[in-house]
């Protein structure tokens, strides 16, 4: 069990996470949804240690958590200029599980010997995913992994996530496309106002979907009327 205990993170005067409490059951795939700016990325960064919470603690089975058990896929990934995909992947240390690049690349079909500058957005995302999976961590934080992926790669990623679940890994995914989470997650957690408002299991995903749509409609309808009246 991973426990977030009253985590607060602020940038300048703005509090992004405000005393957030969250329990994550391990060995499952967790979705994290929230509107733009709700703090999904900040929450993942706090988990990974990129930002230091101003208060609260994150623990795993009552012990502090170390970065070396976590693999993070950022929304926008960094690539060194003028290197090939194969060279990029050589930077990532191999985890305990043997990593056959040839086999993995059969899933993604990347031109690994081409310069990364020639890759499309989706290809770059797939390359970054390969790097993260190569490290074979116990916990994966995937921030918008579906961004830029085509239908085939989206399906492949879902199948990979299923395999990760079977091997007992814990995965936290954020996505702007709610439907992409529904098909793969065991639980989806709703982040709003700096807190996890509610967690939903598979049987109640439709409730969260309805709630999100209602929230967005309420928020925008007044403004839309002003614009189009």
């Amino acid at each position: 069990m991973i426990l977030f205990d009253t985590i607060s993170v602020g940038y300048e005067s703005h509090n992004v996470l405000a005393g957030l409490n969250w329990n994550i059951e391990e060995g499952k795939i967790h979705g994290l949804v929230g509107l733009n700016g709700s703090g999904k990325t900040t929450l993942l960064h706090a988990f990974y240690g990129y930002v230091n919470p101003s208060s609260g603690k994150i623990q795993r089975n009552n012990n502090s958590i170390h970065r070396n058990v976590i693999g993070l896929l950022e929304t926008q990934n960094y690539f060194y200029p003028l290197i090939t995909g194969r060279e990029y992947l050589s930077i990532f240390p191999q985890g305990n599980r043997p990593f056959s690049l040839e086999n993995w690349n059969k899933l993604f079909s990347l031109p690994l010997d081409d310069l990364i500058e020639t890759y499309s957005t989706g290809m770059k995302k797939k390359l970054a995913l390969l790097g993260v999976f190569k490290m074979d961590k116990e916990i994966y934080l995937l921030d918008e992994p579906y961004n830029g992926l085509d239908l085939e790669s989206t399906t492949v990623l879902k199948l990979i996530l299923d395999e990760l679940r079977k091997s007992g890994k814990t995965v936290i995914i954020t996505s702007h496309v709610y439907e992409s989470l529904e098909s793969v997650c065991d639980c989806i957690h709703h982040l709003d106002n700096g807190k996890i408002q509610m967690s939903y299991d598979k049987s109640s995903f439709h409730v969260l979907s309805g709630l999100l749509h209602k929230m967005i409609e309420d928020k925008t309808s007044v403004h839309l009327k002003k614009i189009f009246s």
């Binding site: 240690g49 970065r67 060194y80 050589s90």
Partner: protein, 321 residues
């Protein structure tokens, strides 16, 4: 992992130079040889040896603030500090060899202590999306008009470095020419301001022809650059009035530098893309400033690249004005 990264650095360098014509290769090789020999001779003097160590400190500081792989290294390396130590040590190697050839063993020891201390201190500085918004950036950014997006973006990234080095230049203004050289380093760091191509919509915003666009850009940025360096130059001039010719020369070099960066940017401009081989062009400019017989080279490149930039922009700018 350090070995892998160093190998990648070598590959990056060789790929960025691979498209250069032979004459540039010869110029670069000649420049390096000339600069190394000149530095070797100068290092026999303790004064210049200490100044060179200061430049090394600033160089590491600049590279550390300029690099944008901090988070990547944190997520990939088990011991990121070792990566920084290894890379900055490799950077100091040629300098350490020149010190050794001059028999400055205690200076080598000093340099190693500085390398270790500086790298460890920098490693523990907060980095990230907002990590560079220290005092320097906070003070400088409000002074820059909104239309100077390259400067605002560059200062967000390198403002702290620029602020520290500028303060360093003013602090050293009592020493002959040193302050001007440090200001030259600041002007070189402006190259990073012009390393990313904005979207075509930004270029088209004022519906100017390529020629008008370039003239306007050059004029406004040269004025901004002059205003930026005036305080440092005036303080130096106040303390060394007889050096007015060097101050004038430095002002000209700063203006040439900023014009050079702008014209190189738009000569190779592609919307929303990073400038290809930008570091090579900066290296050519830097070598030209240090090696007397190469001094006219940036001017020649400016003249040549004005029309190159104009033609390149025709692809992206509405040329019906």
């Amino acid at each position: 992992m350090l070995k892998t990264l160093l190998r990648i650095r070598v590959l990056q360098l060789s790929r960025s130079l691979s498209g250069l014509p032979l004459v540039y290769w010869l110029l670069i090789a000649g420049g390096i040889a000339y600069f190394s020999y000149g530095l070797y001779l100068k290092l026999s003097d303790i004064f210049y040896a200490l100044i060179s160590i200061s430049v090394y400190i600033l160089l590491v500081l600049y590279i550390h603030f300029a690099r944008n792989d901090h988070r990547f290294l944190k997520s990939v390396a088990f011991h990121p500090l070792r990566i920084y130590l290894g890379e900055y040590f490799c950077l100091s190697m040629p300098f350490l060899v020149l010190l050794a050839l001059n028999g400055w063993w205690w200076l080598i020891l000093l340099c190693l202590c500085i390398w270790l201390t500086e790298t460890i201190l920098l490693f523990f500085l907060p980095v990230g999306n907002r990590g560079h918004l220290f005092l320097g950036s906070r003070l400088l950014i409000p002074l820059v008009p909104m239309s100077f997006f390259e400067w605002r973006s560059g200062l967000r990234k390198h403002g702290t470095f620029i602020f520290i080095v500028y303060a360093f230049a003013i602090g050293l203004s009592g020493l002959t020419l040193v302050s001007l050289f440090v200001l030259l380093l600041v002007s070189m760091s402006f190259s990073s301001f012009y390393s990313d191509g904005e979207s075509a919509a930004v270029i088209n915003a004022e519906s100017l022809s390529p020629q008008q666009f370039l003239k306007h850009k050059l004029k406004t940025h040269v004025i901004a650059c002059t205003m930026f360096f005036i305080p440092g130059l005036l303080i130096y001039l106040f303390r060394h009035p007889h050096d007015w010719i060097y101050v004038l020369l430095a002002s000209l070099i700063f203006i040439i530098n900023v014009s050079y960066f702008i014209l190189i940017k738009y000569s190779f401009y592609r919307p929303d893309e990073k400038l290809a081989a930008g570091s090579v062009w900066v290296a050519i400019l830097f070598a030209s400033t240090l090696i007397p017989f190469l001094l006219p080279l940036p001017l020649m490149i400016i003249v040549r690249n004005y029309s190159v930039a104009k033609n390149n922009l025709k692809l992206y700018v509405d040329d019906t004005v």
